[in-house]
Every structure is written in structure tokens, then in C-alpha cells.
């Protein structure tokens, strides 16, 4: 059901961990839905010099977090904000439709982390205009079919 890229990022996730003195931290999702993503950022001169994540969730949630951190790391904040969940899904070679919300969570966790950085640093980025972290926890789930034994 998962592509080789998803399985690779699930079994060998990149950038797992915590940044103790992070410049921005973003957490989205909730335990009720079964996925929570937290992203830590280190930002110097508008460049994302380091990024780490911790995720509670299914295989695609872990893989989405991992690919997002790989694609974001080293980019300027503006470049990274231009990435969307579709870019993460593309890089993973696709996700099952019921799992697409995992990639949205990764995009939003990053945006919430940048938002946190803006709050602390007083900076602002065009790509974050109108972004409200309060809406980032919305339910992106798709109801699929049940299968049962």
C-alpha cells in the first residue's frame, strides 16, 4: 500500500529529534485523531539551518514529517513556505488518499513553527500572510472504508 520512498522514510526517518534552543517550534494534530507532529527550527539570516521533528502517528505521518524536513532544511524561509503538502506527497511517490492529511499536517506543523519564530523575532514573511495557527488543527481526515475480520 505504501511506495518504497514512504517505507524508506518510515523505516529510516531523517531529522528525528529535538532542538533544545530552537528558534521556532510548531505542533499540530491531536491525540484523538491519532497523529501529532512537532517541528523544531533553527533559523539564521532567514535560512533554515536545522530542523528536527517528533511524530506520533501512522507510517505515512512519520514519512511525511521526514520528507518535509529533508526538503525544508537549507532553504530560505520564503522558499520553504512555498512548499506545499503536494510537494511532499510527490517526493514520496504518492500517498493513499486516506493518508493525504498526514502530508497536510507536515506542511502545517512547519508553518506553525515559522509563525512561532515570527512571534519571537518580530519578523514577518509574505508566505505566512493570513496564516492562523488556530485553524491548523482542523480535521483533515478522509473517512475511508472499514475492513474487518
Amino acid at each position: 500500500m505504501y511506495t518504497d520512498q514512504v517505507m524508506d522514510h518510515f523505516t529510516n526517518p531523517r531529522n528525528v529529534g529535538v532542538i533544545e534552543d530552537a528558534d521556532g517550534v510548531g505542533e499540530v494534530g491531536n491525540v484523538k485523531c491519532g497523529d501529532i507532529m512537532r517541528i523544531y527550527l533553527k533559523i539564521e539570516d532567514d535560512v533554515i539551518t536545522d530542523i528536527k521533528f517528533k511524530t506520533f502517528g501512522c507510517g505515512s505521518a512519520i514519512a511525511s514529517s521526514s520528507i518535509a524536513t529533508v526538503m525544508i532544511k537549507g532553504k530560505t524561509v520564503d522558499e520553504a513556505l512555498a512548499l506545499t503538502n503536494k510537494d511532499f506527497v510527490g517526493a514520496l511517490g504518492g500517498l493513499p488518499s486516506v493518508k493525504l492529511h498526514c502530508s497536510v499536517l507536515a506542511e502545517e506543523a512547519f508553518k506553525v513553527a515559522v509563525y512561532d519564530y515570527c512571534q519571537k523575532s518580530g519578523k514577518s514573511y509574505a508566505g505566512l500572510e493570513g496564516f492562523d495557527p488556530a485553524n491548523a488543527d482542523d480535521d483533515h481526515h478522509d473517512h475511508g472504508d472499514e475492513d474487518e475480520e
Binding site: E27, G34, R38, F56, C58, I62, E149
Partner: protein, 391 residues
């Protein structure tokens, strides 16, 4: 790679003895049991012998057992057939919150047609309350359907007591015994069971074949209309090889019953102890001893079940989970919600079910791998950080 199958509650492999018994009924004895010629008659004979064999293992008369395409069809037939046959008497059905979807979705479909359904709560171990059952019965109640053994957490219900209550109130009693048949001794007379669903593929028989026990005198509206098969109650040319296989599987199950139960309980207990002793923040679900001999059900905090299943699969271990991500819906399984598990714990659920081909080595390998996997996933989990302080 080592492969360990611990999903016997999902399905079982067809035993060699069963397959061997089935083989002649594809190309040699292939007649249509409804035909009056010799080819038909020999097929009809074996269908009825198989029926008698299976009926015998539940203390039923052979005329009380009807073959179906599996447990799901039996559930649909029993509940819809009884509700519709008795709709002039009443429109109320009592069931539980932890039934298989074969029952739950059938009840929901009847609700749309104007039937009223009471879904009984269960306690933390998964048991219904007999007092609550009795209190739910009203003059309009026509059917009680309570499963014998739960497929997820393995809990065994007090079937005989439920049967006695149903009888005392003159209400029909159906039980979904798909997980119970072959794993428990069943006596439909002693337990006052009026209707009972069973399925072959859970007891080392072929898939797509099951049966419904219908006590003599109980009338159901037919579920599959057509020809006159199964004494005009269930149409469709009989699946002769599978019927033979089902009977063989039942025969083996009850021939080797004591050894089977003893073996499964020993393996399951080895697994339960091993997991509970080596992994922290883990809950064992279902009733401590009134349960399916092969069922073990765990919930690991801070991690998600699908990630757990995928990781187990990568090391060759097959299990199952009631997490939302594996059911494709937003909520963890209805069974885990009904026993009062919090969402975050239910998401980390894992059912491992042992069977006749499981070995001690399989169990030890699983305990070892599971510990590594749970630790790895917890290291990635922000929820675990909150417990360990990020260390």
C-alpha cells in the same frame, strides 16, 4: 526472513487434512446436490453428512443447520430474518456495542427501516451486564443478539445466562459464535440459543462458507431468495467442497479440542507475560481469563497502531490493530471505545492471536522484536517526550 503469523483471529490456514478431504469434491464428486441422478445424489449425501457432523458439535439436530457463504451472511440472515418475521409482534432489538460489523451494520440498516435497537454497554473487560440486559427488554423486544466471543479483545460473554434471560422473557436469542465455535464447547440446548452464526475460515477450514443454526420452530424471513436449496431457506447451489472442508475442520477442532485449547492458552500466556514484563506503559485488554484461548490484546501508550503493524510486518510478524489509521476511519475501533479506552491509548492497540501452528520460538521472537519496535517508535513520539522529559 522469519515469518510469524499471529493473526489467527483474522483467518486461519486451511489444514492439510481439510484440504485433502475437499479435493475429491471438485472434479470427482461434482454433481449438483439438487439433481436427482446419481452424481447429484452423491453430492447431496455428503452435504447432509457434513451438516450432521457440524450440528453434532453444538448439540443441534442436523435439520437445524443451514449453510451460508460465511459468518457475515449468517449474521445478516439471523437478525434481518428474525426482525422481519416478527415485525407484527414488535420492533425492538437488543444487541451490544462490541458486536462485529456483521451485526452492527445490520442493526443500523434495520433502524433505517423503523426498528429500534438498544446497544448495551460493556464494562472495562468487555462484558455486558445481565441486569442491564434484562432491564432493556420491553414488550416490543423480539430479538437479543449478543456475540459469544469478541473478535478484537477476545472476551467471552455469559451465554448461558443470556439465553436463560431471553427464554424467561420469550425473546429470541441469536449469538455470533464465529470466534467461539471450535474454541469453546457449545450446547445450543443447554445454553438456550435460538440462532447461532458460525464460520469455517476461523477454524482452519476454507473461506466463504459458514452456517446458521436455526432452532426448530423458529421462523425467519429468507435472506437469499431463489431455488429450493437448504430446505427452501437459503437458495443457491451448495458449495460442496467447502461444506466438506468446514465439516472436516469442525471434526478436527473437536477431536483435538483439549490439546488445542491447552496449547493456545500456554502460548498466549507466554506472549502476555513476555510483553507485559519487558515493555512499560502497556495495557492488556479484554477479560483476564474469560477469553478466547488464542487472543492477546495490548495497547501501547504514545505510539500508533498502524506504525506498529508496519514495523512488525517488516520483521515478518503479522498482527492486527484497532487504531483509526488501520480502520480507515477517524476513531479507533468501536470495541476499544466501548471498553472505555482513551483515544490516545486505543490508537496504540495491537491484537496478536496465536493458533495451532504457532511455536514458542515464534512467541519469543515476537516479544524481542516488539520491544525494539515500541522503543523505536516511542523515540520518535512527542507524547513520549512528555513522559521522559525528552531524554
Amino acid at each position: 526472513m522469519k515469518r510469524v503469523y499471529l493473526d489467527y483471529s483474522a483467518t486461519t490456514p486451511t489444514k492439510k487434512e481439510v484440504l485433502d478431504a475437499m479435493l475429491p469434491y471438485f472434479s470427482e464428486v461434482f454433481g449438483n446436490p439438487s439433481s436427482i441422478h446419481g452424481f447429484g445424489r452423491e453430492a447431496k449425501k455428503v452435504v447432509n453428512e457434513s451438516r450432521a457432523t457440524i450440528a453434532g458439535f453444538m448439540n443441534a439436530d442436523e435439520k437445524e443447520l443451514y449453510f451460508t457463504a460465511g459468518g457475515t451472511e449468517s449474521d445478516n440472515w439471523a437478525v434481518k430474518g428474525a426482525a422481519k418475521a416478527l415485525k407484527n409482534k414488535g420492533n425492538h432489538i437488543i444487541t451490544s456495542k462490541i458486536e462485529h460489523h456483521g451485526i452492527l451494520h445490520t442493526c443500523e440498516s434495520l433502524e433505517k427501516e423503523g426498528f429500534e435497537v438498544t446497544y448495551l454497554d460493556v464494562d472495562g473487560d468487555g462484558l455486558i451486564s445481565l441486569e442491564a440486559l434484562e432491564a432493556a427488554i420491553k414488550p416490543e423486544t423480539v430479538l437479543i443478539s449478543i456475540m459469544f466471543v469478541n473478535n478484537e479483545i477476545g472476551t467471552l460473554q455469559p451465554i448461558k445466562e443470556i439465553g436463560a434471560i431471553a427464554k424467561a422473557h420469550g425473546v429470541l436469542f441469536h449469538t455470533d459464535a464465529v470466534q467461539a465455535f471450535g474454541n469453546f464447547k457449545i450446547d445450543v440446548k443447554d445454553m438456550n440459543i435460538d440462532l447461532m452464526s458460525i464460520s469455517s475460515h476461523k477454524i482452519y477450514g476454507p473461506k466463504g462458507i459458514g452456517a446458521l443454526y436455526i432452532r426448530k420452530g423458529v421462523r425467519l424471513v429468507n435472506f437469499v431468495d431463489g431455488g429450493a436449496q437448504e430446505r427452501k431457506k437459503r437458495a443457491g447451489t451448495e458449495n460442496v467442497p467447502s461444506i466438506v472442508g468446514f465439516a472436516k475442520a469442525a471434526e478436527i477442532a473437536y477431536r483435538d479440542f483439549d490439546a488445542h485449547v491447552e496449547k493456545l492458552v500456554a502460548l498466549r500466556e507466554r506472549l502476555r507475560k513476555g510483553v507485559m514484563e519487558t515493555i512499560d506503559y502497556c495495557k492488556y485488554n479484554g477479560h483476564p481469563d474469560q477469553r478466547h484461548p488464542g487472543n492477546a490484546h495490548f495497547a501501547f501508550e504514545f505510539i500508533e497502531g498502524e506504525a506498529l503493524l508496519l514495523s512488525l510486518d517488516l520483521v515478518g510478524i503479522a498482527g492486527s490493530s484497532g487504531s483509526a489509521c488501520t480502520s480507515g476511519s477517524l476513531d479507533p475501533s468501536h470495541v476499544l471505545m466501548a471498553i472505555g479506552l482513551k483515544h490516545e491509548i486505543a490508537h496504540g492497540s495491537l491484537r496478536l492471536s496465536v493458533g495451532d501452528f504457532t511455536t514458542e520460538e515464534d512467541i519469543d521472537y515476537t516479544i524481542k522484536e516488539l520491544k525494539t519496535i515500541v522503543e523505536r517508535l516511542r523515540m520518535m513520539s512527542p507524547l513520549y517526550d512528555k513522559v521522559t522529559g525528552g531524554k
